[in-house]
Symmetry: D2
Subunit: 403 residues, 4 copies
């Protein structure tokens, strides 16, 4: 885009502590742009519903849990079609850029952008490009967050997440059947999640067959009282078998430390061990064979690629359609530099930025469901409390409860 | 319960148009009840997260799309565990009553109520009863709305809905394959929805293979210009085949009229025809054979029982867990006469009542996706506008976008 | 084809009662046809395995259960590629004609014929035609039996059958869940099978949740001692619920009789009732409401179109590949007027004709598994014995055990 | 069992080269045992079908592809219930021993043995024991071959095989989607099969998305002309992506050699590398990064545990029922020291022993389907031909075509 993106945040304030974190608009840079009537108003599908166009003043509240007299807090611009658009259909060139790896629903998003532009706005020129070229032109940039891990702040969930959790059930179920079929059987399932444990957490809650779920947000240690090995031994003695789910981003520090001290310089050997699932499986085996003289039967399952390659389920398909349509409406209405996504269930345009706070209630539910210990020591908890946002409601909470 | 339920609504107001529609509490009837510390505070799972208990003043906003200076509107009491409870664990008798027919996730709800009471509150006495007996006792009544149709006002969605939409894809896909395999093939799929078309609408949007979706909220007629027969003929001439999805509650007036005039007094014959799917299939066949001399091949699929009997998917399993836990926390904290459910993604306690307004944006999206006509005439639209709630945001909107 | 097809059967006899029921060959009509080397011999894939070509004398035994001194019985020509072919690749026009309705695996058969001709025999011209034109040309006609019902004599099973049985489990499972969830619940599932009950029988055996399976081969009656109503009442009193599977071709005589006496002249009403599933469901409801004053809850499921439209499973995909390849090899080798299919697990060319005898052992297994009565009276059994083939082994037996 | 099992084979011969490889019978050791009428003859399910009992002389032909005057060859005793049994129901103690790891259908076999003994023979005492105790008692030993790999000679297929092939499709499909989504994408799927490639071969044929299938029966090498690396490079240049399926028993010699020379003494490192899938994936990555300067994207999928833990599909469920019933009938009739299984589609009792010859035709079909080279050099082929059984029909052929 020909104009600078590092503009200051657009903040609008109102009564009772109302704050709108607005997104850039083309008229911020080119004030005299002409507008055109939205072609949807002549579309028989949409003309039926007269209130279809979003009111220009509609905003979506980020803070949904409030007190009687608490400030109204942050809001975002509501997504949806506007009465006026800033592009003429037959002059629009739309470009789609995808980044990163596979994710269930990605094809749906692309199809819906193409079909939505075609059927809703009569835009026929849509290109896919591997880098976007920046020239001094009237360009609206709209982002749809793509991460199966669900690690996007503010928005309720990322697309593909529901499908991933659904498909992860297969692996957990297989681990459970394997573990149950043999004495001291341990099934270990590694699930996606480099920086958070959402998939691991939801899959564990949905399955109910998991005895221990390890996520990056909750540190743990292997040896000694309160450690993982102790818990494993306890569960095996109680139940005869157990299932462990581990998010891929778990225990990076322990793993690095373990690597460093192990003198395993060999390139290929190390490579395998950097996989936390293989590493953890190996550590558990070693502990129980060498130190414990307890025969365990560990089966390790890594379903990552089988999960990623699955087509989106019905829920994700509908969700991807909404994301694509919201992005189109926003770009056609002249907004730019925004990410689209549901905030408390309602689609909104969010300026590019953000950072998320650790989930809490959902994690407590999970601990209660698996009966695993927290693997935390008092000073961890204390530190956590201090960094906790002091407001009535952390932004991350909404995401947790939005199953 | 020994005390009257027909108490007046508990309304609390605050600044800037804040309204809390509160739920009854045992202390409204028995003011001097003793309280006890919530046993969760000694639970190692929950004690990790210090902010786990819900603040006594937390409320959830019903209005999520707002203007800068619009009134704050209706709120509900936030669901979740409280510091104080009004029951001693070893004195609690919990009773579970289920009403109506099967729904995916029902077993999960029951299991989670039983397990939640046991593990979170140490309550061991849980009974299932086919009618609840009312005696003058300290009883908290908590409802979890059970309807696969998603026809509950205020709350985002009903449990089992996601699973039903997922499973409905199979039937739609089969209808599509059948229709495509033969000249003038028509696949007709009847889906659940006595009073609304949510399942039909979401399944249609998720599938993208449907040419026409008929729902109770949008009236239609068969004959003449703008009617269904005309549209079918048009699609068959364009495409050679088509798929129609019909919600079970569709066209009850046309159907009754058709029954009355048909002189089909025979009991068993009539019974079959009262099924809107069979009736519609029959009407289409008759029209094209007798009046049109056009050979069509219609295949009718009714997947109702195959959808209902499926176990909940991962998303519904997690959702059912949250519903069950929220109900338990509310009842233990002394609230009564409430329904539990997510409002804008956040679980809340809602007083028993309500009525929903017709969905609009999602329906327009669907019309755009199927390219079907609206089957409405101008006076219908006018009437609809007049009854439309004049506020910034109808309560039903949130549900539509909450895929 | 320019030459008459009503030629006499080609019978070859050998020692010890050996009989070969051979198929026609082009040289029967055009004796001096030139031959060409099979192009497969230059194909690197096939050249690896030197014994790949079928020996010209190879035949497949129809009688597989024999006695020490029993005659060797009927044989068929073994399917597979021959050293010599009767067509030059670049002169071949292949035509594919499909008849009847959908069947899982049909697409695989067509794809494999096209791909097999292309990659194995370098034949590029393949046409699909809705009627075959008959001119005085060198034409080899090869048939691949297409019936999901498995009602082809001699060959082990028809393609799509495995997939249909697999998919039928879903409907039976749904019926079981529905029936179990309510007092006196009856789940009725109608499965394909106009003239036999193979799908119903295998689905029942695979599921183990069925209490009664009704198939065309085993007559039954509704009223009186030993009748279906009596059995239903017994099972409901014992178990509280039951599942009935009914093949679509069941009870045609009872149904016609019932139709005639019911004075239900109305066209549309009758049409619905001619569906045996709807008819049976209606009869059961009437019986228990009017005559028995016993409240039953019957749920009727017709999964036919959902079964037919499913893609072939892995087993059917491999099977369809073999059928397609066998047909290609036979036609290229100059054979004509034959059906291809496995006989006792080995693919063979079978002359167009045949008739099957009732299954017995598999049916007894099923009766034992469901614990249902046989609904036969002594004179039926007697008649059946008299018409039983007196040989060591009926042709149908092999099919039954070939799961 | 109190009597010696190392008895000589029981061979019976007949006319035209007929040979019966019979199984031991209790009366071989205890000649004067009393017999009892089979209780099935009073069972209403079985009494319907008068010819239900197997004729005492029935045998099943092993050789199914024959010539007009070829010898009749080997036969086995037909499985099924006999008129006379050698045990009284209320004196029978049945013991079930399972060996080895999980296999789809294993639960069905056990359930059907228990239910079959109960309902068919009124035997109520069934024990599961981890070793069988040998005392001088009247004991009949019946085996049901359990190996998901399908590596049992003579019998058509092992139970669980169909389910495994079906489930393997998921992994292959995921590998295909992953490979296709990126430039030079390679999907590698490891499938079960320590000593043969049946699962890999059938899954490849069923899927049609595989470019290369490596099985133990067909040796291959990595480097140089005709090697795997050359083929990979060729396919990537042609198609841009490829899918490789590798049976776990593949290339053990290359792998051992590679291990020995790699100086990778570290225990844990080696352990991972002994997995042929990980090893092959690593070798391919190394080759293309170091030697070829060609950037490839390899995704490795090991679905083993997810396949093994799946419940049997419908086809395997019916098959397991037949195996269990055949074993029961044989043991009750006094046979011992036998394995039960279908021979050319008909269940038979086979004496404990055997060895299989390499598959050929099915493998050629696969090579044709993937278009991969054979990776064989001329001397391998020559050697293979010399060891090929010279008869009309190798025992292994039947298994290959019995999909």
């Amino acid at each position: 885009m020909g104009f600078s993106m590092n503009s200051k945040p657009k903040i609008v304030t109102g009564d009772a502590g109302y704050v709108l974190e607005d997104v850039p608009h083309l008229t911020d840079y080119l004030p005299d742009l002409p507008t055109y009537p939205n072609p949807l108003q002549d579309n028989p599908s949409y003309s039926v519903v007269k209130q279809y166009f979003v009111n220009v003043d509609d905003t979506v509240a980020k803070q949904i849990v409030v007190h009687k007299n608490s400030p109204r807090g942050t809001h975002f611009r509501r997504a949806g079609p506007r009465q006026k658009v800033y592009f003429e259909s037959d002059e629009v060139h739309a470009c789609i850029v995808t980044c990163g790896s596979l994710c269930p629903g990605l094809n749906t998003v692309i199809r819906e952008i193409v079909c939505g532009l075609y059927y809703m706005y009569d835009v026929h020129r849509v290109l896919g490009i591997e880098e976007i070229r920046r020239r001094g032109l009237k360009v609206a940039v709209a982002g749809i967050p793509k991460t199966i891990d669900n690690d996007i702040p503010v928005i309720d969930k990322s697309f593909g997440f529901d499908t991933a959790v659904e498909e992860a059930q297969r692996a957990i179920n297989a681990a459970h059947v394997e573990a149950e079929s043999i004495e001291n059987g341990i099934g270990v399932v590694k699930l996606m999640g480099r920086h958070n444990g959402y998939i691991a957490m939801y899959a564990t809650l949905a399955s109910r067959d998991v005895d221990c779920c390890l996520i990056p947000e909750s540190p743990f240690y292997l040896e000694g009282p309160g450690g993982l090995f102790e818990y494993i031994e306890k569960r095996l003695k109680e139940n005869g078998h157990m299932v462990i789910v581990v998010a891929e981003g778990v225990g990076q520090e322990i793993l690095s430390e373990s690597m460093r001290t192990a003198h395993q310089q060999d390139a290929s050997g190390n490579k395998f061990l950097q996989d936390v699932g293989l590493w953890l499986a190996q550590k558990i085996k070693e502990h129980f064979s060498k130190k414990q003289k307890m025969t365990i039967n560990l089966k390790y399952i890594d379903p990552t690629y089988m999960i990623r390659a699955v087509p989106g389920n019905a829920s994700d398909n509908v969700y991807c359609t909404l994301l694509a349509h919201s992005a189109i409406h926003g770009a056609m209405a002249g907004y730019t530099g925004f990410t689209v996504g549901p905030v408390n269930g309602r689609h909104a345009y969010i300026p590019f930025h953000n950072k998320v706070v650790i989930t809490d209630r959902m994690w407590a539910r999970l601990l209660s469901s698996t009966n695993q210990p927290s693997f935390l020591n008092p000073k961890d908890i204390l530190r956590d409390e201090e960094t906790q946002i002091q407001g009535v409601d952390g932004g991350s909470h909404a995401r947790c409860e939005n199953g």
